[in-house]
């Protein structure tokens, strides 16, 4: 097992060299496919092998741990120099201080601080299992999609940009390695290193196009994530100097003990803070929205598979010690608030990717809130949210990317009648959207469980956040969904590459399969997980209801088909839609007052004056900052 894990973490880093040095685009594509397939196979093999071996939590060291320790120390400094160089190059020198402080802090403590007991550095359990599968399957599928997408991106749409595809694909492989490392390590120092790698690669990917907007947004992402990194650095420093350990699970069990020291919550709070920045909760949501300037695979990758999931992964680790204390309160208040605020904001934007970004923030908010509540039921819900969100969101991002490459626009208003123009893309988009909010698909089941868990916890404020958030979520998805169906007389050619379709259909099938196999996933994966964390495991939604849900899923697939067959031969006479009798021969034009045909535009509601970004964004940032500041002060102050 230890060798397998070593290969899993190191191989993607090594593979990253290949696309970087191969300049021929055909050969590079082949290499990326091959490497991607290897990574996917390896991750699935590792995960399955572990599960087959009984699925017991395992702690172990990698071979040559000392060498890795050295590499990590050097790596920390390399990252720091890279950040310093880039931030001075782009005249944002001030940001490098954040990096210098935290790197020196961690390195200083590690080298000159008190000796800590040697412990195993790798931990493997059910949560790791799920994360490895998400990174390995979803992440790699996005990588495969990226090859075709970046081709279209440079050849058809952005001829003016320098073609840096080699760099892009290399960065994606670095991402895989860092993410595998992050979810597997139990040493905080290792965790910190991989955390920083994900921050830096995301920074580099956001700035891919090197336009002014991209550079600004990439630095915004960098400083926010470095702030989170600083949180981890402080947690490490505190853990080593005060608690005498550098192990995540020791820190957790120290805080969870009955006679816990008063300061034991400080590292937990710091880690939770870091996780909040990474999972783009308010007030740190700006970086995720800014990340939308990057080419789609990187925004999909950033969203669904890696970056943001790293944050919620860490929070789920901490969930056991966040039940009923100030840290948990901070986390679930911020999460619940973000869920509501981001879904309100999503109503007002018409840029498809931005809607997805806001919905990501909002869904992460729900996951964060579940983790922060720290009950077994909420963790159950959170894990399901992570799984379903990863699949449906990466599918949606890829689909919007493909639509943008084909039509040249990702505005929702331009997707009118997509089903007539590009039925395949529209079909995928509809499955993805349905997966995000419709009963009985995955996200809604998780929302149901979350609601039930909050009711069990008698948390009135959270209940209100969830019910209002659900209503606004429903609104912005519905209006997008309704836009796709409809009439559009303009025809054009579908430029989507076959490999993009492979990835998208793969996701679609995966999503439907997950929904249908919901009871199985719950029983064999998620319940063992919560059992592992809480000692006992009971299903949140009773088996009977889950079966009803599965029946509903099948019904939702069968009923429209059945109705279609039933009505296929209904004697229908086609007429024009009613426009006061003034249609100019079809459903999209009417005669104006002087008898000239005019085109009819049907536009959605965005309600900028009610939920507008200008109106809500700043207050949301202020409120969430206050929540975090007040509770952090309470936690730190309460310790002394």
């Amino acid at each position: 097992m230890d060798k397998l894990v070593t290969i899993l973490i190191c191989l993607p880093f090594v593979m990253a060299v290949l696309p970087a040095i191969i300049k021929n685009s055909k050969a590079r594509a082949a290499v990326v496919y091959l490497c991607g397939a290897i990574v996917m196979a390896l991750s699935v093999f590792t995960a399955v092998k572990w599960a087959m071996a009984g699925g017991k939590a395992m702690d172990f060291n990698l071979p040559y741990t000392e060498v890795f320790d050295k590499i990590i120390l050097v790596g920390d400094f390399l990252l720091m120099f890279l950040i310093i160089y880039l931030s001075f190059k782009w005249k944002k020198g001030i940001i490098s201080f954040l990096s210098i402080i935290q790197t020196l802090l961690v390195a200083g403590i590690e080298l000159f601080g008190p000796e800590v007991e040697e412990k195993a550095v790798i931990h493997m359990d059910w949560l790791t299992f799920i994360m490895i599968l998400i990174i390995g399957i979803i992440g790699v599928a996005i990588g495969i999609y990226a090859v075709g997408y970046m081709h279209g991106y440079h050849i058809h749409h952005h001829k003016e940009l320098t073609d840096r595809r080699s760099f892009f694909l290399a960065m994606i492989f670095v991402f895989y390695g860092a993410m595998f490392g992050l979810v597997l390590s139990q040493s905080l120092i290792w965790l910190y290193f991989f955390w920083e790698i994900t921050s830096v690669t995301s920074f580099l990917l956001i700035g891919y196009t090197r336009s002014e907007e991209a550079i600004n947004n990439s630095f915004k992402a960098l400083w926010m994530n470095l702030l989170g990194g600083l949180g981890i650095a402080v947690a490490i420093a505190y853990a080593i100097t005060v608690q005498g350990t550098a192990n995540l699970y020791d820190v957790i069990s120290l805080a969870g003990a009955h006679n816990a020291a008063r300061g034991a919550l400080i590292p937990i709070a710091m880690l939770a803070f870091a996780a909040l920045t990474k999972s783009a909760q308010f007030p740190f949501s700006g970086w995720l929205l800014g990340a939308m300037v990057a080419p789609t695979p990187s925004s999909a990758l950033l969203h669904s598979a890696t970056m943001v999931k790293a944050g919620v992964y860490l929070l789920l680790r901490l969930a056991v010690v966040m039940n009923n204390n100030y840290v948990g309160q901070m986390v679930y208040l911020v999460g619940g608030f973000t869920f509501l605020a981001a879904s309100c904001l999503a109503i007002t934007v018409s840029d498809g990717k931005k809607v997805l970004a806001y919905s990501t923030i909002s869904n992460l908010g729900l996951i964060v809130a579940c983790a922060g509540a720290g009950y077994q039921e909420t963790v159950w819900a959170a894990v399901f949210l992570i799984i379903f969100h990863a699949v449906s969101k990466s599918m949606l991002f890829q689909c919007v990317g493909a639509i943008e490459n084909t039509t040249g626009s990702r505005d929702i208003e331009d997707m009118q009648g997509l089903i007539m123009r590009f039925p395949k893309l529209a079909f995928i988009l509809m499955i993805g959207i349905a997966g995000m909010f419709l009963a009985p698909f995955g996200m809604l089941v998780s929302k149901w469980a979350a609601l039930k868990a909050f009711v069990d916890a008698r948390s009135a404020l959270m209940i209100l956040f969830v019910v209002f958030g659900s209503a606004t979520t429903m609104f912005y998805w519905t209006k997008w969904f309704a836009k796709i169906l409809g009439v559009n007389p303009n025809k054009s050619r579908d430029l989507t590459k076959p490999n993009e379709y492979i990835s998208m259909f793969f996701h679609a099938i995966l999503l439907v399969a997950l929904c249908v196999c919901f009871p199985l996933v719950s029983k064999y994966v998620v319940l063992p997980l919560t059992g592992e964390m809480y000692g006992n495991a009971s299903a949140v939604i009773s088996q009977g209801n889950i079966i009803v849900m599965v029946i509903m899923i099948v019904a939702l697939l069968v009923i429209p088909t059945f109705c279609y067959l039933l009505t296929r031969n209904a004697g229908v006479k086609e007429v024009m839609a009613y426009m006061g009798g003034d249609n100019a021969g079809d459903n999209v034009r009417f005669l104006d007052s002087v008898g000239e045909p005019k085109e009819l535009q049907v536009s959605n509601w965005y309600m900028e004056d009610v939920f507008g970004e200008k109106k809500l964004f700043t207050p949301s940032v202020i409120i969430s900052t206050l929540i975090i500041l007040v509770l952090l002060c309470t936690i730190v102050g309460g310790a002394f």
Binding site: L438, A460, F475, V487, N545, L556, I559, N587
Partner: protein, 292 residues
């Protein structure tokens, strides 16, 4: 009879009888409304005549797939009611109802007709306005009876309304939106004074419109069932006052319909959400405080 048999029987009764019950209620609605306006009004069987006529009409359509979507909408609503009357999970029923309404929205927006699209957008707005209270109602029952299961809720000894007066007020408030009654008949109306022609149902011709109407009836019976849930207890006599309460609520809706003028969507959203927060939220806070 066993418990299961009774539940299946009730569900079957719902499927068979709901359109007749709601159709009659609709007939009484039109009669009572007419009397309130000083008119004689049509026969109380008028809704059934309308349905019969609509099924006999020629079938025109501006969008072929519309019929599929309308039919799916109908089946899903019926399924929702079956889940409810078979005594399953209340929250599940509400989720399934919103999925069903999605299909209505798809059916009406697919035609690209301006009036129907406008109605659709308003329908979505209405959904956003009532959805929090609907979910909150389920939460309220869970707090009062410690279960989401309808079958368990009806076996409680004290009617849920004793714990949930605020939730009841909120739910009756959003029922006005759900029943498409003035002042909230924004997306479509049962009367002809609409500036959006017939809103969501504008492009639905003949049997499509008939099916939408029948679906609405199924929905009405389901929602009135939820109203009844506030009153029913394990005591068999409670059915009497439950039916009385349901009729009273329905009469109240007719009264509101006849004495109020339509409002703008901004006001509707504000009112619905404020009532949800004030009535539902306050009740929720109190319940979570006393019932830990």
């Amino acid at each position: 009879m066993t418990d299961l048999q009774i539940r299946i029987l009730v569900a079957v009764c719902y499927v068979v009888l709901a359109p007749f019950i709601a159709g009659l209620l609709d007939g009484f609605d039109r009669k009572i409304s007419a009397r309130m306006q000083g008119r004689k009004g049509p026969s109380i069987f008028q809704p059934f005549y309308d349905i019969k006529k609509l099924f006999g009409k020629q079938f025109l359509s501006a969008y072929r797939l519309q019929l599929v979507l309308v039919l799916t909408y109908m089946i899903l609503v019926v399924m929702t009611g079956v889940l409810f009357y078979a005594g399953l999970d209340l929250l599940l029923c509400f989720f399934s109802l919103s999925t069903a309404v999605m299909f209505l929205i798809l059916a009406s927006s697919a035609t690209h007709s301006p009036f129907s699209s406008q109605g659709t957008h308003r329908e979505m707005m209405q959904m956003m306005a009532y959805e929090p209270m609907v979910l909150l109602t389920a939460v309220g029952f869970y707090l009062a009876c410690d279960t989401f299961s309808v079958n368990e809720i009806i076996k409680s000894d004290i009617p849920a309304i004793c714990y949930l007066p605020g939730f009841f007020v909120g739910f009756v408030f959003i029922l006005t939106i759900k029943f498409r009654k003035s002042p909230f008949d924004l997306s479509t109306s049962h009367h002809a004074h609409q500036e959006v022609v017939k809103g969501v149902t504008t492009e639905m011709v003949g049997k499509e419109y008939a099916m939408t109407t029948i679906t609405e009836w199924y929905e009405v019976v389901f929602l009135l069932g939820v109203v009844g849930l506030f009153f029913i207890t394990s005591n068999p006599w409670s059915i009497l006052w439950t039916v009385a309460a349901i009729l009273a609520v329905y009469f109240l809706e007719i009264l509101i319909d006849n004495v109020s003028a339509r409002v703008k969507w901004q006001l509707m959203l504000k009112l619905a959400w404020s009532v949800t927060i004030i009535a539902g939220g306050l009740n929720l806070f109190i319940l979570t405080l006393i019932n830990r």
